[in-house]
């Protein structure tokens, strides 16, 4: 896998999207698949920024590809236990006037993911998502 560290801020998103584009280019992947990867990464990364511990520790983002699956891994080296795979799914059947602004991010991740896993050890949270890339 190829990895990079990003500051724990929503302001890192542009660098993360550029990292994804670079990975797709380096691996000869069709760019259309990158939009879903952007979405999964944004939802998981911003979730850590919003709900994770206040910390100066950067967040690691890793990407790997083994056809037809692209694997996304985020490692937060200064975290409390929080398992995003255990969060109940958003109720997308609710009337719009009852919807809150949040709660959809992990729902999107589940829609994209063939595999969605979480591990926690020695204050390190690791989230792994695999998504199928259409050829």
């Amino acid at each position: 896998m190829v990895g990079r560290e990003f500051q724990r801020s929503n302001g890192s998103l542009k660098e993360i999207f550029a990292f994804v584009r670079g990975f797709f280019r380096d691996h000869g992947l069709v760019e259309d698949g990158a939009w879903n990867v952007d979405l999964v990464l944004e939802e998981l990364f911003t979730n850590i920024v919003k709900y994770g511990r206040p910390s100066n520790e950067p967040i690691e983002v890793h990407l790997g590809y083994e056809a037809p699956f692209l694997t996304i891994r985020l490692r937060d080296r200064d975290s409390d236990f929080f398992d995003p795979t255990a969060v109940p799914d958003a109720d997308t059947a609710r009337p719009i006037v009852e919807r809150s602004a949040g709660g959809l991010g992990l729902h999107f991740v589940r829609r994209m993911a063939e595999r969605f896993e979480y591990t926690y050890e020695d204050r390190v949270s690791t989230i792994t998502v695999s998504t199928r890339l259409e050829s």
Binding site: L39, T46, I96, G103
Partner: protein, 94 residues
């Protein structure tokens, strides 16, 4: 990069990527808009849950004032995100 462009013909366009790093600026721009609102999304490249949440907020504000809110000319990948959220059956998407 994201921006809201109002053209001389009266149309309003969402342009670029509406992600979590852009929602604060986008919220200030959308809050300045009132009345029935149609947003042309033909140049909206990307939207995440943060952007969806902002557009739902805008819908609620205008709906409460009795105004229509429509999104038109969505790219298929952007429309898919609305569909994942179950909003394609609720918001007026054209």
């Amino acid at each position: 990069m994201f921006e809201i462009r109002s053209l001389p013909d009266g149309s309003t366009h969402l342009v670029g990527r509406l992600d979590a790093s852009e929602v604060d600026q986008a919220r200030r721009a959308l809050e300045a808009l009132s009345g029935p609102l149609t947003l042309d999304c033909s140049r909206l490249d990307y939207i995440s849950s943060a952007g969806i949440g902002l557009l739902v907020e805008t819908y609620k504000r205008l709906h409460a004032a009795g105004h229509a809110f429509r999104l038109v000319n969505l790219l298929p990948r952007v429309r898919n995100v609305f569909a994942y959220a179950g909003l394609d059956r609720i918001l007026t998407l054209e």
